[in-house]
Symmetry: C2
Subunit: 160 residues, 2 copies
DNA sequence: AGAGTAAGTTCATCTACTGAACTTACTCTG
DNA sequence: CAGAGTAAGTTCAGTAGATGAACTTACTCT
């Protein structure tokens, strides 16, 4: 298929897209909500072909989203778990969750919700501006370059 | 490639994944940060094959994320723009942006940032619980069923 | 001894993405 | 008025990658 790569693109969306790579990746990562997972478990639950699953898991380990741990030596058996980076990626899945729940189901929303593990309260995710804590709106935003802090820029390079 | 579909899966992540479908979709949608876009413009900026772009745009229109508008009749010329649903999807891209910026670039972060269109202030997106406004953490969450509100459930079906 | 299990690998087949060239219907320029 | 230019695709052959089914390995359990 000669897949085009974006892992050196300057846009964060492009690199994250490249990281996902295909539609199985988010679904595989979704499974780790419940904790560590094993190969057979993932294969059965997702219905993905074993070859594809094997490839994806390898790539997710290489990319640092999952770690592979031997949970018994004889015969060698493994499980996969989220790394810190993988835990961080779950915020993307949470945003997908919120969008899907609102726009891809009927009025009643999805028959599956995220709950607080302790209180059981339903968790609805929203994406907000970290400063104002207001929901972000694409129409109010534009692209920009990070203006370097003054100390990092030699005088000669600064704008007059 | 016999792509597996998830558009009737009960999980919001699965349906949203199906909506994206491939790695071009997020990048195409990314381009609409700047407003309406035309075919040629997208093709040049993204370097995507014309056939693939054509297919993706058609699907995004069918799925209701983009609208196609004729901006001149003779010869007929078109532009695409985000619908309300497409605008909502941008929160997913914002979450991807934040993840990519933090984890897929060096210490300095990405050379591209989102800014407030008016004030120029850098916008950093975070995904939070809509009630507590605290960042979500996958480790504190579990899967659940939405407990139906009392008025919707006939007495006979309720738990004792 | 024979069945069962976990974690893959291998293989032939099928399909979707790719780049390049082509099409259409108009406008613009010399 | 001929020829170049432009926008928005479509068509096509080649190929990389996904698919399901079967196979492998190395142990445990009955």
């Amino acid at each position: 298929m000669k897949r085009t790569r974006f892992d050196d693109d300057i846009c964060p969306v492009a690199r994250t897209t490249d990281l996902m790579g295909d539609s199985w990746t988010p679904l595989i990562l979704r499974e780790f909500l419940a904790g560590p997972r094993r190969f057979e478990q993932l294969q059965e639950r997702l219905g993905v072909s074993r070859a594809t699953l094997s490839q994806r898991l390898d790539r997710l380990v290489t990319d640092g989203l999952l770690a592979k741990r031997e949970y018994q030596p004889n015969p060698p058996r493994f499980e996969y778990l989220l790394t810190e980076k993988g835990i961080a990626f779950w915020s993307v899945l949470a945003a997908m969750w919120a969008f899907g729940d609102r726009w891809l189901f009927g009025e009643s929303g999805a028959p599956l919700v995220l709950k607080d593990r302790e209180t059981g309260r339903i968790v609805r995710s929203i994406v907000v501006d970290s400063q104002t804590r207001e929901p972000i709106d694409v129409r109010t935003m534009r692209l920009g370059r990070p203006s370097k802090s003054v100390t990092e820029v030699p005088l000669a390079e600064r704008e007059p």
